[in-house]
């Protein structure tokens, strides 16, 4: 008895998202599918201890959920004429010729991912919906991770589902022509989730860390379902960031720069894993910005020290990245790599040119980079001015402490 209960729990954890993804396709509605999923598990708790586990629990849950939903909609549509459409749709489902529901379970999971990350939804709604429907987090868990009120997150999810219904966003994996753009939207959501966990310095760092782990899981799922080079590149990039997570801050929570991190504590297994992924993705010749960023991170990860890093390779990769994405932030990163290869004076010329363009005038890292280069050139007064400017532009506590420390060292 107890063991059956444990099996139901384990099956819920392993299968509930897959079953939900298929039920959404069969029932054509998120809320209806969620209710059906719930009812299917209630039935499982009741029947499995008595009748034993079915041979294929997932198929059992899908068909039970479907029948429960059909039954309920029929009863409800007697009272509610607005359900006539749904009832008609459901009548078609009840027809046994409507197809075997289990044929494309993995496609259903992809459909769910693409729907949750649909560009017609607000960016923050895409994140919340993906975390809840694809990853199975509760509204309260998502709220905790975002340091938000559960009611705010709940409303975001309700509105997103209403938008999916009203805009008739189709539940499908986009076709070949649409795929690159739609995949980019999915990858952006995954990376956003990752960075929320990775860059978090406020709040409960433990729950925020879970967000990165969730993003890596999502990234793996995506690669498994749709091994496009950019999906592979993003997974590699996240693994490479993860591999040095524990060395990014000191025991007392202070920022440790890449050059000063303890490389013996980097996770070599993750690095090797990620390097293989990047190479395979680049070998397709269809790698994009995520692949290039992963390649840059891999060069860093494999270098024995900051000095012994192949900076020429890194500058070359930034050149490629700039061609794909001519953003000033990429240009700034390239300038810092040039400074490592050719010396601080060469880097400073580039940073000053980028700052002169104006877009990064309020970006604290641009001024922090300039300050660092001036410091290395012995231009103390300029360095001090730039650190002060950077300090004025960031509110993040650990970054402020880092900049203040650097500033104090100059006095």
């Amino acid at each position: 008895m107890q063991s059956t209960q444990q099996s139901v729990d384990a099956i819920y954890r392993a299968e509930s998202r897959r079953v939900l993804a298929t039920l959404i396709r069969l029932l054509g509605d998120f809320d209806l599918a969620e209710e059906a999923l719930h009812e299917a598990f209630v039935a499982a708790v009741e029947q499995w201890p008595r009748d034993g586990l079915p041979d294929n629990p997932r198929a059992w849950l899908v068909s039970t959920g479907r029948f429960k939903a059909i039954d309920r909609i029929r009863r409800r549509s007697k009272y509610d004429v607005s359900l006539e459409d749904v009832a008609e749709h459901v009548a078609a489902l009840a027809d046994p010729s409507s197809g075997e529901p289990m044929e494309s379970v993995e496609d259903d999971r992809l459909r769910l991912v693409f729907t949750c990350c649909h560009p017609a939804l607000a960016a923050e709604a895409q994140v919340a919906l993906t975390l809840r429907e694809v990853c199975g987090l509760t509204t309260e868990e998502i709220a905790r991770a975002h340091l938000a009120n559960p009611s705010t997150i709940a409303q975001r999810i309700v509105r997103a589902k209403a938008r999916i219904r009203e805009a008739r966003i189709p539940y499908e994996v986009p076709g070949r022509t649409e795929l690159p753009e739609r995949l980019a939207s999915v990858l952006r959501v995954v990376y956003l989730v990752f960075n929320e966990g990775y860059l978090a310095t406020s709040g409960d760092s433990l729950t925020r860390h879970d967000l990165s782990a969730e993003a890596v899981r999502l990234g793996r799922l995506l690669v498994e379902l749709l091994p496009e080079p950019e999906a592979v590149g993003l997974l590699a990039l996240m693994l490479l960031h993860e591999s040095r997570r524990s060395t990014r801050t000191s025991a007392d929570g202070e920022i440790v720069l890449l050059a000063d991190q303890d490389r013996t504590r980097w996770n070599r297994e993750q690095i090797a894993d990620a390097s293989r992924l990047v190479q395979a993705a680049l070998a397709t010749g269809r790698g994009g910005p995520y692949c290039i960023q992963a390649a840059i991170a891999a060069v860093h990860a494999e270098a024995p020290s900051a000095e012994a890093t192949d900076w020429n390779e890194i500058v070359g990769l930034y050149d490629v990245l700039l061609e794909m994405d001519a953003s000033p932030v990429v240009a700034l990163n390239r300038a810092v790599a040039v400074a490592m290869r050719d010396g601080p004076a060469a880097g400073l010329t580039l940073v000053d040119a980028i700052l002169a363009r104006g877009e990064l005038g309020d970006y604290h890292l641009a001024h922090a980079s300039r300050a660092d280069l001036c410091r290395r050139l012995g231009r103390t007064a300029d360095a001090r001015g730039a650190y002060e400017r950077a300090l004025a532009l960031t509110t993040q506590a650990s970054e402020r402490r880092f900049l203040a420390r650097r500033l104090a060292e100059l006095k």
Partner: protein, 136 residues
């Protein structure tokens, strides 16, 4: 998790429902209640007498005082409640959406909290069972 859904009605509107309408509403609630029992969401629900029938009890300094309620003369009053079990707030909202009164009144969905004793979160009574599909 447990959530309390408070059915906040304009009391005048509730009192002036045509009898046939009220009959339909009541029947629909009874039907939904059975659905919610079957789905495991239902813990308890009751409709309440009008707020004018409230009695307020306070014990101060060991002395009980009893007065008429309510303290505030507002049109909107709690006219009934549902105590439900749901996986998360969005599931609770979904349940609230299904309540027939939601088409007439405001349903306030409030998460229940746990009592902490000696640093440990405790169920509020031995009757508070744990839903298997709610994360611990």
């Amino acid at each position: 998790m447990r959530y309390l859904c408070l059915l906040v009605w304009d009391e005048e509107k509730l009192a002036s429902l045509p009898p046939a309408e009220e009959e339909r509403l009541n029947a629909a609630h009874l039907e939904v209640n059975e659905d919610l029992i079957a789905s495991g969401h239902f813990i308890e629900a009751e409709p309440l007498e009008p707020a004018a029938n409230t009695t307020c009890v306070r014990v101060r300094g060991g002395r009980a005082t009893v007065t008429d309620g309510p303290f505030a003369e507002t049109k909107e009053q709690v006219a009934g409640f549902y105590l439900i079990e749901a996986r998360d707030l969005n599931e609770a909202i979904q349940v609230a959406t299904r309540l027939p009164s939601a088409a007439w009144c405001t349903v306030e969905v409030r998460p229940c909290r746990q009592l902490r004793v000696g640093g440990l979160a405790r169920p509020s009574s031995s009757k508070s069972a744990h839903n298997p599909f709610t994360p611990a």
